[in-house]
């Protein structure tokens, strides 16, 4: 008797574990017949998500033919997976917000997506992409300049530093070192002055590998960082990057640098006053403003002596138009609705408001000029808010194929691989050079698999 109960219990428990939640289902409440309803999935948490949904509400109020229904679908990777599952079930949203590392996957998605240039041509909509910052435009366009997705929230990486700590270490709080050599000296001085954590880095791969490669004008991968074809191979074991990684590992050992964890985990170390310098997303600004109990400054990313820095690349997300399912396209009315929404968010005043509300980049030059003319950057509270834009235009805004962006399939996985190999180096299990070589080998396997899966697709 007891035995039977035990068996039943064991199977019941096993059963609970096996039953996986069903894929998220798209909500399509009935719309008024005259109005076209556009579903829009985004991956921004509050307060950003609310500001984004407000833009959709404002758009709905501005006209009568289209109603955009924006809904939060979890973090960026979760939104991506939800959209893919929905597509396979013929339920995909009209518009999905996709983070920049998913760009390569979306580009290769064939009939799952409606390229932006086709959408605009078919609906006779014009958006002046020449007005967009080159780094923003380039990340989401084909090599011939045709746009594939609608750029929206974009950030770049900058340095935030604690001016009070700089003063304590007898460093000039108003002149952040331009070079990595200078940063290392400053870190040494900070440590000598009793700062437990002189510097850290959020988004280790994005800031220390991707941005580093772009501003030093060295390739991250062949084929123009993947823009020219799926047969790209990683090049992150080049001498300059290996030198930088070796330095980071050494600085970690010497107590000058602290590895704060993957993705945005290190963000918290700066506003709390724990670390005196952080390499982070320009979007961290709002949080620092809210939480930091000390004087702080913003600076452009440093470079190694003997190199000439050029523009940094962006992070963030863009909006993709999706077909409903593997064998279902969108009606003319639906396409018109999506195009109208995109034209609405491309307006300078919408882009400018998003920039000043959130700290993301103003994606167009006109929006930037508008904000500057309004005197926003001159206010003491907003000091340094234009540093990310200056850095995006560093080197005269003449991008090279190394600073356009990154277009690699399976890049989410490659980022994780680089982080894992770096963590092994920080633990002392391997040298920085071995870490980079291993990351190249493992990353190339991902690239070859992606190429094979999308051959002909």
């Amino acid at each position: 008797m007891l035995r039977r109960t035990i068996m039943a219990g064991a199977f019941a428990l096993a059963g609970l574990n096996v039953a996986a939640p069903a894929a998220a289902q798209a909500q399509t409440p009935a719309a008024a017949p005259a109005q076209t309803e556009i579903t829009f999935w985004h991956g921004l948490t509050q307060p950003l998500g609310g500001l984004l949904e407000q833009i959709a509400t404002d758009f709905n109020a501005s006209q009568t033919h289209t109603r955009v229904v924006a809904s939060f679908r979890g973090s960026y990777p979760e939104t991506m997976v939800a959209a893919i599952a929905a597509f396979r079930a013929n339920q995909s949203p009209h518009i999905v917000q996709m983070f920049e590392v998913g760009t390569g996957t979306m580009m290769a998605a064939g009939r799952a997506i409606k390229p932006l240039h086709e959408l605009l041509a078919e609906t006779n909509t014009t958006i002046n992409f020449q007005d967009y910052l080159p780094g923003v435009r380039g990340y989401y366009s084909l090599p011939d300049g045709r746009m594939m997705s609608m750029p929206f929230n974009s950030s770049t990486s900058v340095v935030f530093y604690n001016k009070d700590a700089f003063r304590r270490a007898n460093l000039n709080p108003d002149a952040f070192p331009m070079t990595w050599e200078g940063v290392a000296q400053a870190a040494t001085a900070l440590k000598a002055a009793g700062v437990a954590c002189p510097m850290t880095s959020a988004w280790p791969t994005w800031t220390q590998v991707e941005q580093f490669s772009a501003i030093h004008n060295i390739p991250l991968a062949t084929q123009g960082n993947g823009f020219d074809g799926l047969n790209a191979e990683l090049r992150i074991n080049n001498p300059l990057l290996v030198k930088h990684m070796t330095n980071l590992v050494q600085w970690q050992r010497d107590g000058l640098f602290r590895y704060g964890g993957r993705d945005g985990a290190a963000d918290a170390l700066f506003p709390s006053g724990e670390c005196a310098m952080i390499f982070a997303s320009s979007g961290l600004r709002a949080r620092i403003q809210r939480e930091a109990q000390f004087a702080w400054g913003v600076a452009q990313l440093p470079y190694y002596e003997g190199t000439t820095p050029i523009n940094s690349i962006i992070g963030g997300a863009s909006f993709w138009t999706m077909n409903r399912g593997p064998n279902a396209t969108r009606s003319a009315a639906e396409l018109r609705g999506v195009a109208a929404f995109f034209a609405y968010i491309a307006q300078p005043q919408v882009a400018a408001k998003w920039h000043t509300d959130t700290g993301f980049l103003p994606v167009t030059r006109t929006a930037f000029e508008q904000v500057r003319a309004s005197g926003f950057y001159a206010l003491p509270a907003n000091a340094g808010a234009d540093i990310p834009i200056q850095q995006m235009l560093r080197g005269g805004g003449q991008m090279t194929e190394n600073s356009m962006g990154i277009r690699l399939g399976g890049f989410v996985e490659i980022r994780t691989i680089i982080q894992e190999e770096l963590e092994r180096a920080f633990q002392g299990q391997q040298t920085a050079e071995q870490a980079m070589n291993n990351a190249v080998t493992r990353g190339n396997v991902v690239l070859r698999n992606f190429e094979r899966q999308n051959r002909g697709g």
């Binding site: 064939g110 633990q427 051959r455």
Partner: protein, 295 residues
Amino acid sequence: MRLRKKVIFKGTALPWLLLLPQLIITGIFFFWPAGQAIYSSFLREDAFGLSREFVGLENFTDVLADPNYLAAGWNTVVFSSAVAITALAAALFLAVQADKAIRGANAYKTLLIWPYAVAPAVAAVLWLFMFHPQIGLFGRFLNGIGIQWDYKVNGNQAMLLVILAAAWKQVSYNFIFFLAGLQSIPRAVLEAAAIDGARPIRRFWTIIFPLLAPTSFFLLVVNIVYAFFDTFGIIHALTQGGPGQSTTTLIYKVYVDGVQNLNFGSSAAQSVILMAIVILLTAVQFRFIEKKVHY
């Protein structure tokens, strides 16, 4: 003890009808997904399912040749056995203490059962707040007394942390079963042993422990199944499988490859391997270990 009453149905229609609901549920929720996983494990496809290719056993050979997969297998062995042993030992100790005639025993028991109601992700966050090297109470304390505590760069510390968090979560469950098992042991046997001069420790090992064997065996199975499949939330919230891949277990790798990396073929092949391991493990447990258990 066992009574068997055989009911003979006339014809086969009624028995099939009676079995049907159960068969439908089993078919839809067990065999269909399992079949899908096996089918996908022979395919390679892009994320959107627009092109697929039959690759035979290639997903399996790739996975088994991957040193990271084998390392994840080893992590799983270390993690599961440590979680099962820690959770069982701690729960048994607590249950024996709670079974004694103590003041406020009921409040004490209730408090011990609480952690079971905590969701895995919340449990992980609690542990994070205790052991985070910069903001955690114990994390700061450890660093303060000179122990270099940082589970973000130290793989062994990360493993220790996820084991503790996962085991803590399971102690309550084990505790309830052990307590019930203890309470079903006849007092007369224990009193007789006490009169014969057996000390508490001897009474525990010669009477209580053997009589608890069926409960312990059941809990062992459940704990290992738990450590294999249910600890995903804790690992995801605490370490995300890192640093390096030092806390990546087999089930976590299935998630990473399938959901994050959108590599469905490889993920399905890993699920099939995991399914085979669990079938084997359960069969071994019931066939060999059960023989040593006296009901």
